[in-house]
Symmetry: C2
Subunit: 168 residues, 2 copies
DNA sequence: TTGGAATGTCAACAAGGCTGACTTAAAACG
DNA sequence: CGTTTTAAGTCAGCCTTGTTGACATTCCAA
């Protein structure tokens, strides 16, 4: 598709052979497995799955968030999320409080027990990320995040950037 | 965990605050959704899933590969892969040939119909990747792949690098 | 006061993982 | 040659996590 003999003109044109793109695709596939491997082990020990991890992560990230907000970020159906939330609430990891202003809304917050799980999961995942960053070197880290952000759908990028702002 | 006031010494020490690491983790999560979004649409139209995509991709990548090799790369059970392979063979996308040297082995190859699907899927995914690379700029691309490779488990990195070599 | 939004719940289903048990065929080994 | 191991396939059953559709409740807001 893209001629390998093309040459760079400034920095707007890249050497993007199908071969290079394919390597990027495969790297993404294999790396995502590594990315989830450590949390998966911890979750399995405790009888939870990735869906629980995602819920716990974003509740930790935005305490007192509503179910609707969580639905938008996670991109799953209400029924699917509800099944996960129910077990987390039953197990005492998440607290669901009826909204004071709008009583239809439920505000979700981690309990101490929930924070303990979140900590275990994010420690593992951060360690993996930190090691990868160190191995790849300082210059690589910027590029990594830039490409990932550019790969997101605009909706998800919106959510991602909103989270970034909130985190400051 | 990591003190934000740490300073770089050479290039071995990075500014790795928990906040930065968390952003990387969330970027990975949202980006993977974008990464799979386009193929998912194509697959759904044709009644297939991600598992079929993965099989088709790696059979295309390593024609006449064996079932065992595919199992190692995909990291799933024989039963799980077999369910997918069976439908692909029944639908005439994949051809399974008994090995000439070792008659226990089945060698898997895409048919014309299989190549057509593979083309549609990889075109979509390559376009996404190309756009992301272009938006992120030439410097970012190197870093992106470096971090991804560093994030893989060693087994997966071995498979990834083996594929790279084969592609030359 | 009524429409619609936010939430929750029930039922049913599908994809795609998993384990365990078992068969067949063929290679490899001793 | 006989035994063991390997490659592949199959059956049955289970789990997680996604889906759709239908429906009830609560309650804000026009």
């Amino acid at each position: 598709m893209v001629d390998q003999s093309a040459h760079a003109s400034g920095e707007s044109l890249l050497f993007l052979t199908d071969e290079q793109l394919r390597k990027g695709i495969e790297a993404m596939f294999f790396a995502y497995r590594g990315f989830t491997a450590d949390p998966d082990r911890i979750l399995e020990e405790r009888g939870y799955g990735r869906a629980h991890h995602r819920a716990v992560h974003f509740i930790h990230r935005s305490p007192a968030t509503t179910v609707n907000n969580l639905l938008a970020i996670l991109g799953v159906t209400k029924q699917s999320l509800n099944r996960v939330l129910r077990t987390l609430i039953e197990d005492g990891l998440v607290e669901s409080k009826v909204g004071t202003k709008d009583k239809r809304e439920r505000h979700l917050t981690l309990t101490d027990k929930g924070r303990e799980l979140e900590r275990a999961l994010s420690d593992a995942q951060r360690n993996r990320m930190r090691d990868a960053y160190r191995k790849a070197g300082p210059d690589a880290v910027q590029g990594f995040r830039q490409v990932l952000v550019a790969m997101m759908d605009s909706d998800m990028r919106r959510h991602y950037l909103a989270l970034k702002d909130a985190g400051q």
